[in-house]
Structure formats: structure tokens, C-alpha cells
């Protein structure tokens, strides 16, 4: 039976430009991140950028679906220098006050010597007719074991106080 173990977490007491999990142990089979995010972007939503192991080469590709309550779309990116959640799961600072977007990021087999596929489900929270949600399939084309994850907002310059970052390891997945 698979078990979740909390590796590390951080709830921001004040705004921060980035959050990094370093020295991630290689003792689990999969990683799961649960994030609750709001940024200072002056819009309804923002996107989450993730860089793995400080790799800013063009090794990230991803395809996403996106809906906002009125329209749906799909697109993709290849040879990107960072992963981006593309408007899902990160509230901007004009969304309903004190609300946060939610993200679950799943990274299976993060220690195997193969390229690393991963997935994200993001849902914004907004007490209005428009709110974004999106699932994303992604790939980091690198065979290294994942030891570090770095998160920054794409449009804003900082995550706001109350944003939370939880990193879990899964055993026997």
C-alpha cells in the first residue's frame, strides 16, 4: 500500500519571491506537491514556474487544457527553459480577497535514470463567473535524480503571505 510522508513544508509568513525545496531525499518512489498560492500579480490569476535541479536549459515541454467557465482551450510548449502552470491554480491579487489557488503536482519515479514525466492539476478560486482550472501533462528531459525544486510566480514578483508549499514522498507507489 502506498504511503504519503511529509518531507517538508512551508507556509509563508510574509511574501517571498521564490520558494525552493533543496536536498530532496532519494528515498521515495514518487513526489507529490500540494500548493496553495496567491501572488501580487495585478490580475485574476497568475502562473507557477518550476525549475528542477536549477536546470534552465530548454528541457521542459508541456501540454495543457484550460477552462475558465466560459471558454476552453488547449495548447502546448516545447523546449521551454522552465515549466509553467499556464494560468491554473495560482490566484492573482484581484481575485476574491483571501482566496488561494490550489495545485497538486505529481512527479513519479523521480530517482530513475530516465526523462521525468509529471502532471499538474490546478484550480483557481474566485467568487465570480470567471475562474480558471487546468490539467497539464509535462516532461523534464533530463535523466538526473530530482534533488531540488524551485518555484516562482510567472507574472507577479512574489507569492503572498499565507501561500503554502507541502512536499510529500510516496513509498511503494
Amino acid at each position: 500500500m502506498a504511503t504519503y510522508t511529509l518531507i517538508s513544508s512551508n507556509v509563508l509568513a510574509s511574501s517571498a519571491a521564490s520558494v525552493t525545496f533543496s536536498a530532496i531525499p532519494a528515498t521515495y518512489t514518487d513526489l507529490v506537491l500540494r500548493l496553495s498560492l496567491r501572488t501580487n500579480n495585478s490580475g485574476l490569476n497568475d502562473s507557477l514556474s518550476m525549475i528542477i535541479n536549477s536546470d534552465t536549459a530548454t528541457n521542459y515541454s508541456f501540454r495543457w487544457l484550460r477552462g475558465n467557465g466560459a471558454a476552453a482551450s488547449s495548447s502546448s510548449a516545447t523546449s521551454a527553459s522552465a515549466f509553467s502552470s499556464n494560468a491554473g491554480g495560482v490566484n492573482g491579487d484581484t481575485s476574491t480577497a483571501n482566496t488561494f489557488g490550489s495545485i497538486e503536482l505529481y512527479i513519479p519515479s523521480y530517482t530513475v535514470s530516465q526523462n521525468k514525466p509529471f502532471s499538474l492539476m490546478g484550480v483557481g478560486e474566485n467568487n465570480a463567473t470567471t475562474a480558471y482550472m487546468n490539467p497539464i501533462a509535462a516532461l523534464w528531459s533530463n535523466t538526473s535524480t530530482i534533488t531540488q525544486l524551485n518555484f516562482t510566480p510567472v507574472s507577479g514578483t512574489s507569492f503572498l503571505s499565507g501561500s503554502s508549499f507541502y512536499l510529500y514522498g510516496i513509498s511503494n507507489a
Binding site: A17, A23, S49, S75, V154, T157
Partner: protein, 71 residues
């Protein structure tokens, strides 16, 4: 001064470090590039949707009818 948060998973230690001027410059450049990329992707997606709608109009069929033809 903006700062970054580093969570060391081996010790559980959480460190807050002020960004250097160079890091701020790099971060702003990366954010500009990412935002431009995101907007470009939105333009591409919107153009695809417009082209699809125009084609359906030209053919005089609905999206559901097009799906039926392709099924």
C-alpha cells in the same frame, strides 16, 4: 527588499535570504520572458480557435456536426 525562501529537506531548516541585485535583475528578465511566452501561447490558441470557427462557418456546419463526420 524581496527575499527567497529555501527549505532544506535534509534538515528541515527554512532560510530566508535577501535577493542580490543580480538575482532581482535575472528574476525580472525571466518573468518578462515567461510572460511574453505565455501571451504568445494565448495568441496562438486564440488564432487556432478563430480559424476553426471560420472553417466551420465556411462549411456551414456546427462543431458537433464536424465531430460526427470525423467519428
Amino acid at each position: 527588499m524581496p527575499h527567497k525562501v529555501i527549505v532544506d529537506c535534509s534538515t528541515g531548516e527554512i532560510t530566508e535570504v535577501e535577493l542580490t541585485a543580480e538575482e532581482i535583475k535575472d528574476m525580472e528578465a525571466a518573468q518578462k520572458a515567461a510572460e511574453a511566452e505565455r501571451k504568445a501561447q494565448e495568441v496562438i490558441a486564440a488564432a487556432k480557435e478563430t480559424a476553426k470557427t471560420a472553417l466551420l462557418d465556411k462549411l456551414g456546419i456546427t462543431a458537433e456536426e464536424a465531430k460526427l463526420l470525423l467519428s
